[in-house]
């Protein structure tokens, strides 16, 4: 295929395409609102979580069956630190009552210090207590985590010999919640964002009966295709810019929300939830690649579809696959843990490489070779699809 050059006619067409696109107020608004809303919603949601987990006390049930020193000591320590542990009230309960409440699902956090807890600890240096928690509740989970940490601290502080060793297995290198969120939101919205443009371009031209006259102008079809793509890229640029604005707004909302907390809690929440602003250019770059890839796939769909409705339906159907991948794997960032055929299938999906790229960049673990492979794969995939799109666009059937 001969490479097209940028001439006056192509520029003219690009100008018109952009002008027409910018007059689609709802399309533009969608490209602005979509990333902004996604991030602002997350900002509000996480502010709520920060409040729930840092300020709001939780009712905790406790059952002490151990009559030895360590059980009593632990119980008294929890009861004496209720305000620090954000427990209100601490309710004593029998084992039978607790089991009934668990069966009835009317309990959020239950701490169980069983009989023999102290004796076991004294003889084997190991013992077990239980915390039952309703993990659907952020507040309950946070309260349980605080009790867990406090219990380990008390036991370990008093008896050094009984030091507990805890191994952390990190599946996702970007343990920061904000980074996981960035990957999830950037990927999900970018895969779905080009849909209106895709249905509007060739399928839209065909439906509006404007394609035939367009195809007889003295311009090669590859240039016509290119001009359409440029307007798509212009739209994606709007999207990327507002993603950056959205991320900054999100960061700001978190920072403002934690402002009233103790300094160590402030920093912990900021570290956990915000997105490192230095990585925004790379996020935007990755998003651009994802959008381009989605447009490449969309162009093929648009060239094959008879009308806008068909293009939109087929696009949604095909994009379900990467959306599932992103939904399932994006949040854990654990694509590479899968081996065998499933692993290869996942790696064959170009959007998986965007997740890998973002994981590596945000966690600071990327290597030049690894990142280049991710970018190269996505670019290659996009070029192949655009080539297929160009071939389809050359067909006679495009006008029928």
């Amino acid at each position: 295929m001969k490479m097209p050059t940028l001439d006056v006619k192509t520029l003219w067409m690009i100008r018109k395409e952009i002008r027409e696109v910018t007059r689609s107020r709802w399309l533009i608004l969608g490209f602005i609102i979509s990333p902004m809303f996604a991030w602002m919603f997350q900002g509000a949601f996480l502010s709520f979580i920060v409040y729930q987990t840092s300020e709001e006390p939780e009712m905790v049930y406790i059952t002490l069956e151990d009559d030895g020193y360590w059980g009593r000591h632990l119980y008294e320590s929890i009861a004496g630190n209720q305000s620090n542990l954000l427990i209100n009230p601490l309710v004593n309960i029998t084992l039978e009552e607790a089991q009934q409440k668990i069966a009835d699902k009317t309990i959020s956090v239950w701490v169980y210090i069983p009989a023999g807890f102290s004796q076991e600890l004294n003889t084997t240096t190991e013992s077990t207590m239980q915390i039952v928690v309703n993990t659907a509740s952020f507040r309950a989970t946070a309260a349980a985590s605080r009790i867990d940490a406090h219990s380990r601290e008390i036991i370990n502080e008093v008896e050094i010999i009984r030091e507990v060793t805890i191994y952390w297995y990190t599946i996702a290198p970007e343990a920061n919640y904000g980074h996981q969120l960035a990957i999830f939101l950037v990927m999900l919205t970018s895969v779905l964002a080009p849909a209106p443009y895709i249905s509007k371009s060739f399928a839209g031209e065909r439906e509006a009966k404007t394609l035939e006259a367009l195809l007889v102008v003295p311009m090669s079809r590859i240039k016509i295709l290119g001009a359409k793509l440029v307007s798509g890229i212009a739209l994606t640029a709007i999207y990327s810019v507002f993603t950056a604005v959205g991320i900054l707004t999100y960061n700001l909302s978190i920072i403002m929300r934690v402002a009233g907390l103790a300094p160590e809690l402030q920093q912990a929440n900021i570290d956990l939830y915000t997105v490192n602003a230095n990585t925004i250019p790379l996020i935007m770059f990755c998003q651009f690649l994802v959008l381009l890839c989605a447009i490449g796939i969309g162009v093929v769909i648009s060239c094959l579809a008879k009308d806008r409705a068909t293009a939109e339906s087929v696009n949604s159907m095909i994009m379900l696959i990467p959306t599932f991948v992103i939904g399932i794997l994006g949040f854990t960032g654990s694509i590479l843990q899968y081996g065998g055929i499933l692993g290869w299938i996942i790696l064959a999906i170009p959007f998986s490489h965007a997740i890998l790229f973002l994981n590596a960049v945000l966690a600071g673990t990327g290597t030049l070779i690894g990142l280049s492979i991710n970018v190269g794969y996505m670019m290659g995939f996009t070029i192949v699809f655009l080539f297929i799109g160009a071939k389809l666009f050359e067909r006679e059937a495009i006008i029928s």
Binding site: V8, K9, W12, M13, K16, R19, E20, R23, S24, E205, A208, K209, T210, E212, A213, L215, V216, V217, P218, M219, S220, E396, I399
Partner: protein, 259 residues
């Protein structure tokens, strides 16, 4: 032999869709045709007779299955960019860019032919005046009636001042007065500007008023060609309608149908 005067020539032009398949359709069957410069040539035929296919082949949207087609002396399969720079097309079911204004539609289309913007503005002024849309030139076309849109489309086809203008049912959906305006425009560009016009229509009055010659297509074959009066005489018919219906239905034609 193609002379300077012959602007369109086809030799055994055949177009088959789905060739070799069960649904094979021969849309054009060995069509031989010559159209000279400045002529207004009418293509007649029932729906599906091959009129639109013939136009699409001549503007390079479809590739001939067999035979040859020359436009302005160039083979449509080899020099299509040369041809497209010099021909205008108003498709049968032409749409328009709704979000652009009437003027912008003309300017945009002309710009794709590399015509300078200043020149385009002047041509657009003139054409919008002629089709009676000067006052609405800065309105987005989405609010226009079907007839008004068709007028913009006719003006759009003319804005590039093509040597050959292909019009597929140009006056469809335009009111009587609008149709007259279009017809007068076509007469003018043919007689004064010596441009060639190839139009398809179902309106036989329009054919008689505008066309120097007509070609009647039936099931992909060119079954008759000549001046309207010649055809009436040749087929011993009272009018062109009788010639047309006779050739298409095979009834009431008494003359020699061989070309």
């Amino acid at each position: 032999m193609i002379t300077d005067d012959v602007v369109i020539k086809t030799e055994g032009l055949t177009k088959t869709f789905e060739k070799g398949k069960k649904r094979e359709v021969i849309a054009l069957n060995r069509v031989d045709l010559e159209i000279t410069r400045g002529e207004v040539f009418g293509l007649l035929g029932t729906n599906g007779a091959g009129k639109t296919t013939l136009i699409r082949v001549l503007v390079g949207l479809l590739t001939p299955t067999e035979g040859k087609a020359y436009v302005l002396g160039k083979d449509v399969t080899e020099d299509i960019d040369y041809i497209r720079q010099r021909v205008g097309l108003l498709p049968q079911e032409a749409g328009i860019y709704d979000r652009l204004t009437a003027r912008e539609n003309l300017i945009y289309y002309g710009g794709l032919y590399g015509i300078p913007e200043e020149e385009l503005n002047s041509r657009a002024d003139n054409l919008l005046e002629i089709v009676g849309l000067k006052e609405k030139e800065d309105y987005q076309v989405k609010g226009f009636s079907g007839g008004m849109k068709r007028k913009v489309l006719v003006a759009r086809a003319l804005v590039i001042e093509p040597e050959i203008l292909f019009l597929d049912e140009p006056t469809t959906a335009i009111d009587t007065l609008g149709a007259r305006v279009v017809r007068n425009m076509l007469k003018e560009i043919s007689s004064q500007q010596k441009r060639t016009v190839i139009l398809t229509t179902h309106d036989l009055t329009e054919v008689k008023e505008l066309c120097d010659r007509v070609g009647i297509l039936n099931e992909g074959k060119l079954v008759a060609i000549g001046k309207p009066s010649e055809l009436e005489e040749k087929f011993r018919a009272a009018n062109l309608e009788e010639v047309f219906t006779g050739l298409v239905t095979g009834e009431g034609v008494y003359g020699d149908a061989s070309l």
